[in-house]
């Protein structure tokens, strides 16, 4: 790269931002994208209103340090599940990127989804691309003021509703609605409501593609997951070039299929020209595919001048779906999901931790019996107050003794109790230096056990 080129690139990077006016487009991929918008936003806005058993079905109750998920309660001790879930999400992202490119960016990313809605509102109030460009250049008139104001009203209302819903995931949404109705919001509810509204408004209304270009870490490292068999959106250069239009096209013999209508550039939400090749700015929204397909159809040429393809198939080589990296990602993902499901199924509402007394190995109770002393910690991860029974197995004639009252062996949801316990065994049976025994804690039909060391009577 010559110095001259580098200078222009640096200058481009630090240029003032030029607003992009994406042209509206219809087509099969845009239909899928709209469907994704409706489904994802529908879920986001409706889920906090779901009730289950008299309480909110999904609620991340941070002040009480518990997550309600469809009737389950997760405690901070269950953090491993959240961590696993995040790792699974990351690996699915890697897997789908290796397989099908930036599906996430084009269809599912909140930035894309909310930007779609905000652009739709802009179209509703200000009209299509050309009208919007004219309107922005026109001097301020009553008409412009009216259009701009109605757009802002729509945007702000939608953003506030988004902020409200977001807070509704962390604090019971019905109470929150009530608080808003009588205008008695707590400081944190107020802060997060307006913060998230502002973030939505700014990101989807103004920053838009700049979030993808400058802020998104995924956009920077996604190329690491790509290979020549990953699905990308690409312009078929061999078929399209030499591009030409109008009179030149009619006189020239053997023109390429691209009629240079620049519609693919006009519809692009990040303002790039897909015909320049694969670029990191491309969020794979497939708007250019739909635009180009329509043009190809009108001019009587086969569709797919711009299409989902792979670098290998563009260069005439066969594409493979199963490659080492895809198989590897799939295996890791499968392992993680299996692990997560198994661990989650085996999750017990009783969490126990047993500590052996540090001072003595064992004590003599009478001439035939010895005992080991432990501190038992039980956390109730269930939904109801639980009463616990203790038992020990692994050696014959073991007995668990506690000096505390039975109401000390009772825990409310989320409560951690600590009880001193003694496990007794006949001297003749516990005659090894160390035995491994199993201590079980039961409450109703739930049971959890932990293996503990038992120090026996050995001379």
């Amino acid at each position: 790269m010559s110095t001259q080129e580098r200078e222009t690139i640096e200058l481009n990077l630090y240029q003032a931002h030029k607003k992009i006016y994406p042209r509206e487009v219809k087509g099969r991929f845009q239909f899928k994208r709209k469907l994704a918008v409706v489904v994802l936003l529908g879920l986001f806005y409706l889920v906090p209103w779901l009730q289950m058993g008299g309480e909110q079905a999904i609620l991340f109750d941070l002040p009480n340090r518990r997550f309600h998920i469809l009737g389950l309660i997760l405690w901070p001790q269950d953090f491993i599940f959240l961590a696993l879930l995040l790792i699974i999400a990351a690996f699915s992202l890697f897997f789908f990127t290796a397989l099908a490119g930036r599906l996430w960016c084009g269809y599912a990313c909140p930035q894309t989804v909310w930007t779609e809605v905000f652009i739709w509102m802009e179209q509703l109030t200000e009209g299509g691309r050309n009208q919007r460009m004219k309107l922005d250049q026109a001097p301020w008139t009553w008409n412009k003021f009216r259009k701009k104001t109605s757009k802002q009203i729509l945007w702000v209302t939608f953003a506030l509703w988004t902020g409200f819903t977001f807070v509704g995931f962390f604090t019971p949404i019905r109470e929150l609605a009530n608080h808003i109705w009588i205008w008695q919001l707590g400081p944190w509810e107020m802060f997060w409501l307006f913060f998230y509204s502002f973030a939505t408004y700014g990101n989807a209304g103004f920053l838009r593609e700049q979030v993808c270009l400058y802020m998104c870490p995924y956009a920077r490292f996604q190329s690491a997951m790509f290979d020549k068999d990953s699905l990308i959106i690409s312009y078929d250069e061999q078929r399209g070039e030499p591009r030409m239009r109008g009179k030149k096209r009619r006189t020239e013999n053997n023109p390429g299929d691209c009629i240079d209508c620049t519609l693919c550039v006009q519809v692009c939400p990040t303002g790039i020209d897909i015909r320049d090749g694969l670029q990191y700015e491309c969020i794979a929204c497939a708007a250019c595919i739909d635009a180009c397909d329509e043009v190809m159809e009108k001019s009587g040429m086969p569709k797919g001048l711009i299409r989902y393809t792979t670098e290998h198939s563009l260069s005439g080589k066969p594409s493979r779906i199963l490659r080492p990296r895809v198989i590897l990602y799939a295996l890791v993902l499968f392992g993680l999901i299996t692990g997560f499901v198994t661990a989650f199924m085996m999750r017990s509402p009783i969490s126990i931790n047993v500590l052996h007394d540090r001072n003595t190995f064992y004590r003599m109770v009478d001439s035939n019996t010895i005992e080991n002393v432990y501190t038992l910690k039980i956390m109730n991860k269930g939904r109801e107050t639980a009463q616990y029974q203790l038992s020990a197995s692994g050696l014959p004639e073991l007995s668990v003794v506690t000096d505390v009252d039975s109401d000390m062996l009772q825990a409310e949801p989320g409560q951690l109790i600590s009880v001193p316990i003694k496990i007794r065994a006949p001297k003749k049976i516990a005659n090894q230096r160390i035995h491994n025994i199993l201590l079980s804690v039961m409450s109703g039909q739930h049971k959890n056990s932990e293996e503990v060391k038992y120090f026996g009577y050995k001379k």
Partner: protein
């Protein structure tokens, strides 16, 4: 401007230099925000903020929201400071750069 752009191009005007600085500042703020969010999530899943404050040198009683908010703000501030200083230190001093170019 502590973090002036490293470039052979001397023709940046004051406005462009300011824009470069603001953009770099924005990057540091944004990345430290992201990392602070993740850090708060992991940290507060493992430690109870209310209990931590009671254990602290000041023995203060706070609510959960205050605990989370202060933790997040602290993480953000410190990560920002780290990023900012890294930015300054990584931008080599101009004099040294000029010498390098001169002795080609």
């Amino acid at each position: 401007m502590p973090t002036q752009p490293i470039t052979k191009n001397k023709n940046f005007n004051a406005r462009q230099v300011k824009r470069i600085f603001v953009r770099r500042l924005g990057i540091v703020i944004w990345v430290s925000f992201l990392v602070a969010a993740v850090q708060s999530m992991v940290f507060f899943a493992l430690f109870d903020p209310v209990y931590l404050w009671q254990l602290s040198s000041w023995h203060i009683d706070i609510s959960y929201w205050q605990g989370y908010a202060m933790g997040f703000a602290c993480f953000w501030a410190f990560l920002f400071a780290a990023g900012y200083v890294i930015g300054i230190v990584m931008a080599l001093p101009r004099a040294q750069l000029a010498k390098r170019i001169g002795t080609k």
